[in-house]
């Protein structure tokens, strides 16, 4: 089976400081991988490199494209990379405001990716937007409202709808539940889990919340100081942590 995403010896440093170093993994179709670690451990740097927002210093990222199979994303032209960003890839930002157009209605936000790949039928775009708003539990009567009038949880769900409308195969998520209160987090996680299973999505989720990865991720990578210190199946890593840092991380979670 070909991996959907193949990362080989990836490294990125900011001058003398290491962002992330020597990261290698394969992600297979339908698999959800979590990346955990404390602040400053290089999680977000790694994710930005993977999504093409940052250029890595070393290493290769290969993505299984629909037409040409595994291709090095670094060697692609910018046009191809940006096309991937609108079609097969999706990026869910921690702050919904970074991923939404706040001055455009909810329907326009969801429809943007469709129009970006050539949809030119208003009725169809609107129908798709209504459908997706329903799937992320936003009422159809809110379709013409701007995201500024939405609560934080709704904005985050709108961002997810906007990203998934073109049926991507790989979703990058950067702390998708950050800044939301626990009950809203739980609904969002439930929703994400449903969508991931239903659409057969592959996802890479960066978070510092172990509960999120416990619920969503099949596999887990633990990062510290830019290096991967432990990787494995989620339950295995969380229930039987081997590395001292992972043990610390797991034991730091408050039990209510």
């Amino acid at each position: 089976m070909t991996p959907l995403l193949q990362v080989d010896g990836l490294a990125k440093s900011y001058g003398p400081r290491i962002g992330c170093a020597n990261v290698s993994f394969d992600l297979f179709p339908g698999e959800v991988m979590g990346i955990v670690g404390e602040s400053g451990s290089g999680k977000s740097t790694l994710l930005s490199c993977l999504a093409g927002h940052l250029t890595p210093d070393r290493g290769a990222i290969r993505f299984d494209t629909r037409e040409h199979g595994l291709r090095d994303t670094g060697a692609m032209s910018e046009a191809e990379r940006r096309m991937l960003g609108r079609t097969d890839w999706a990026f869910v930002h921690q702050h919904a405001r970074d991923g939404l157009r706040m001055s455009v209605s909810a329907g326009g936000n969801v429809g943007e990716r469709l129009m970006a790949v050539g949809a030119r039928h208003y009725g169809d775009i609107r129908a798709a937007a209504t459908d997706w708003l329903g799937r992320v539990e936003i009422g159809a009567d809110r379709i013409d409202d701007r995201p500024t009038t939405f609560s934080g949880g709704m904005q985050q769900r709108l961002q997810i709808a906007r990203n998934l409308v073109t049926g991507p195969r790989l979703v990058f998520m950067d702390e998708p539940t950050g800044g939301l209160d626990v009950s809203v987090q739980a609904r969002l996680l439930d929703l994400l889990r449903g969508l991931v299973r239903e659409m057969g999505l592959s996802a890479i989720i960066v978070t510092h919340d172990l509960a999120v990865v416990r619920l969503l991720a099949d596999r887990l990578m633990v990062m510290k100081d830019g290096h991967v210190v432990e990787a494995g199946l989620t339950d295995q890593v969380l229930d039987d942590p081997q590395h001292a840092y992972t043990q610390l991380l797991v034991s730091s979670v408050l039990q209510v």
Binding site: R86, S105, G111, H121, Y122
Partner: protein
């Protein structure tokens, strides 16, 4: 004899403007940066159009200047006088006699022929400006032909107003490649953008020149189920009776009285001189007498 160099700008500046114009003609719809000069008028009064006109003007040219279709408004009169003084060129109000027409916000009703040049004054050349604030990003979007965002604007129009409510500066796609802002002409004029004359667009403050060569394919953006509609007031001109021209609505008294008349003054006057009569011309003439 005037103390100014011909057409106000010095020769090196005119060469620079011409180079930008030639590049613009070679890449229809592409915004060519140019080193816009300060002109003896405020930004927003046509500094870009004036520089383009100065760049292309020759002593044999006959110049016409219109503002919203009219030859006799402040902007048109002052720019016409400017070139009379600095270039001593012949001027006219007749569309058919002019070899260079500088315009603000309208295309003349009378079809232009080859050999004529239409110069537009452009306030904001970037059609994506109010959707994407970053210039770096909009340039990249033009380069990579990513125009989905332009469609989002039209989508928002329909979602909010039930129809594409953009009535002027209606975005067009030039020769299947660049999306372009046709300057704030009414969308009624959009179908005329494929014409026999050369069209040059100058934006002074934004330092951009772009162009449409003759007979270029220019398509107004729309949706399959909401096709482009070059709407106009459902009325005929009250002075000359024309039913095919773009109309201004004029309120004429405090009792709600109003009249519609051609925004193109030359077109209207020519028709009136030929004996065409609109609904209110008689009453107006009687009232005056």
């Amino acid at each position: 004899m005037s103390d100014y160099n011909f057409a106000y700008l010095d020769e090196q500046t005119k060469r620079m403007v011409r180079r930008a114009i030639l590049k613009g003609l070679a890449i229809p719809g592409y915004q060519v940066p140019f080193a816009s000069r300060e002109m003896p008028m405020p930004y927003g009064w046509g500094t870009g159009g004036v520089q383009v006109t100065a760049g292309i003007l020759t002593p044999d040219d006959c110049l016409k200047v219109i503002d919203q279709g009219a030859d006799d408004t402040t902007n048109a009169v002052s720019i016409r006088r400017f070139f009379e003084k600095t270039a001593q060129v012949a001027v006219t109000e007749k569309t058919s006699l002019a070899s260079v027409i500088q315009t603000r916000h309208r295309i003349p009703e009378e079809p232009l022929h080859d050999g004529q040049i239409l110069v537009y004054q452009v306030p904001i050349p970037e059609p994506l400006r109010f959707l994407e604030p970053s210039e770096v990003e909009t340039r990249k979007m033009h380069a990579l032909e990513e125009y989905g965002l332009m469609q989002v604007k039209l989508y928002e129009d329909i979602a909010r107003h039930g129809a594409i409510a953009t009535a002027y500066a209606y975005p067009v796609k030039v020769e299947g490649r660049y999306v372009m802002d046709p300057s704030p002409i009414p969308k009624f004029d959009n179908p005329k953008l494929s014409m026999a004359a050369i069209q040059l667009f100058g934006a002074g403050r934004e330092q951009r020149i772009y162009a449409i060569p003759p007979f270029t394919n220019v398509v107004s953006l729309d949706f399959e189920d909401f096709p482009f509609d070059p709407s106009k007031a459902d009325h005929a001109c009250d002075l000359c009776g024309a039913s095919d021209s773009y109309l201004d609505e004029l309120i004429i008294d405090d009792a709600g009285g109003r009249m519609f008349l051609c925004s193109d003054t030359d077109y209207c006057a020519t028709r009136c001189a030929a004996g065409e009569v609109g609904a209110q011309r008689m009453t107006l003439t009687e009232g005056a007498a």
